[in-house]
């Protein structure tokens, strides 16, 4: 914890030095100079509204990408024949730039919420699938034999035998997922939405207002850190409590 704090303070120090050397608040303001406009945005400005809009999109894309990726990854990991057919698709989608998918979705579906969320989801699915597929390939055959002999139901087998084995892979996918998704959501908002953090950054980009770009970016980083510490990490601790026991 102390190391983390020191490391973050180091980053802040670097920023201060850079701002001092640059000596141009238009290009890079001092961190302290952001506090007043941040407070205005928070209390009387639209900061919370835009944060909420972005967060809702992140949540949708996250849930959709994780569910589809989990199902696809399981199927591909368990059935090598299907894997052979789908693997080239995976490689294509993994290497398709996020920007291309976003632009195509907007062109084909229109400048709306569905297109934005779908574009982000499609960007993330291949990644989740790849990670979960590794997990599905590593499933313990002895436990499978045990479940077979004792005729465990499919449901119970999935829930109590397969999912716990996949938990570390799901956690890894979720962690990298949240980080990547919010960055892509911002691009989608930048290009074709009229609210959200990405839209605000677009606005202040056109006004060449570095301070506000930083305020919106840092605010959302803070939100994502809170998600990591308050949701993801406690869930992971719960899921792996049997290991430390």
């Amino acid at each position: 914890m102390i190391v983390r704090l020191a490391s973050l303070l180091g980053l802040l120090g670097l920023w201060i030095i850079a701002a001092w050397l640059g000596n141009d608040p238009e290009v890079l303001p001092m961190p302290g100079a952001l506090l007043a406009p941040f407070w205005t945005e928070l209390t009387s400005g639209p900061l919370l509204y835009h944060l909420a809009m972005t967060l809702i999109r992140v949540l949708w894309a996250f849930v959709l990408a994780m569910s589809v990726g989990l199902a696809l990854g399981l199927v591909m990991g368990l059935f090598p024949k299907i894997d052979k057919w789908l693997d080239p698709w995976l490689v294509v989608f993994l290497n398709l730039p996020a920007l291309v998918l976003i632009v195509l979705c907007y062109l084909w579906i229109g400048l709306n919420e569905t297109a934005a969320i779908l574009a982000v989801t499609l960007n993330k699915i291949p990644n989740v699938t790849t990670i979960i597929r590794e997990g599905a390939r590593a499933l313990d055959p002895d436990l499978k034999a045990m479940a077979q002999v004792y005729r465990m139901s499919r449901r119970s087998y999935l829930r109590h035998v397969v999912l716990p084995q996949l938990a570390p892979f799901i956690a890894a996918a979720a962690r990298s997922g949240v980080a990547v998704i919010w960055k892509i959501v911002l691009v989608a908002e930048f290009l074709g939405r009229s609210n959200g953090v990405g839209f605000q950054i677009h606005l202040y980009f056109q006004l060449f207002d570095v301070a506000h770009v930083l305020i919106y970016a840092l605010s959302f980083i803070a939100v994502m850190l809170a998600v990591e510490w308050l949701l993801l990490q406690p869930w992971e601790r719960h899921a792996r409590r049997w290991r430390g026991a």
């Binding site: 034999a145 479940a147 077979q148 002999v149 004792y150 109590h160 716990p164 938990a167 049997w242 026991a245």
Partner: protein, 199 residues
């Protein structure tokens, strides 16, 4: 009872088992012996229905239990859940009784990783006997245990088999184990392996 009739079992082009025919009546215990690598585990997997790719037929009862070489427990579930999840029809009390019967009733809420190897083996036995099996398959269940613990587990298995009277097949390398637990010994030998003598 268990009726085994395996005409062929192949892995690719290699034939591992041929013409193995025997039955095990309810209440009877049969030991299966043979040099390592001969195909004993392969045969057990056929009998247990884990592997269904072979020529021939096997009749087995509905309530089948198996004790594996390793405890093969769910490390992320407590001892009691390891029994209750595998036997959903059993109910909490019966699951607890199953643990009591093998002497680990106090460990019900522990994860397998918190238990000693001997206790994990007991849990595996409790899981096998919890639902009153009509047939029981044991694949070298006491291998890799020190002699004292192996003896203790053997006694426990013997008394459980005596109470429930399932049709039992077990694989062992130890002649003593075979002699003390079984009514009859079957030996696998040859290439492909087949039954070489009925004792």
């Amino acid at each position: 009872m268990i009726a085994v009739d395996v005409k062929f079992k192949r892995f690719g082009d290699t034939e591992v088992l041929r013409d193995i025919r025997f039955t095990v009546d309810a209440g009877e215990t049969v030991a299966l012996q043979g040099p390592s690598g001969i195909g004993k585990t392969t045969l057990l997997r056929l009998i247990a229905g884990i592997d269904n790719v072979f020529d021939g037929g096997i009749v087995r009862p509905d309530r089948l239990a198996m004790v594996f070489q390793e405890p093969t427990l769910l490390p992320w579930r407590s001892a009691i859940e390891n029994i209750a999840l595998v036997h959903p029809g059993l109910g909490e009390d019966a699951a607890r009784a199953a643990l009591d019967r093998v002497g680990i009733g106090a460990k019900a809420d522990m994860f397998p990783g918190q238990m000693s190897l001997g206790q994990q083996r007991r849990l595996a036995l409790a899981r096998a006997f919890a639902a009153r099996p009509q047939a029981l398959i044991l694949d070298e269940p006491f291998v890799s245990l020190d002699p004292e613990l192996a003896q203790e587990m053997l006694e426990l298995a013997r008394s459980l088999i005596h109470e429930e009277r399932p049709a039992t097949i077990f694989v062992t390398h130890s002649r003593e184990e075979a002699a003390s637990l079984s009514d009859r010994v079957l030996s696998l030998g040859g290439q492909p392996a087949t039954l070489v003598s009925h004792a």
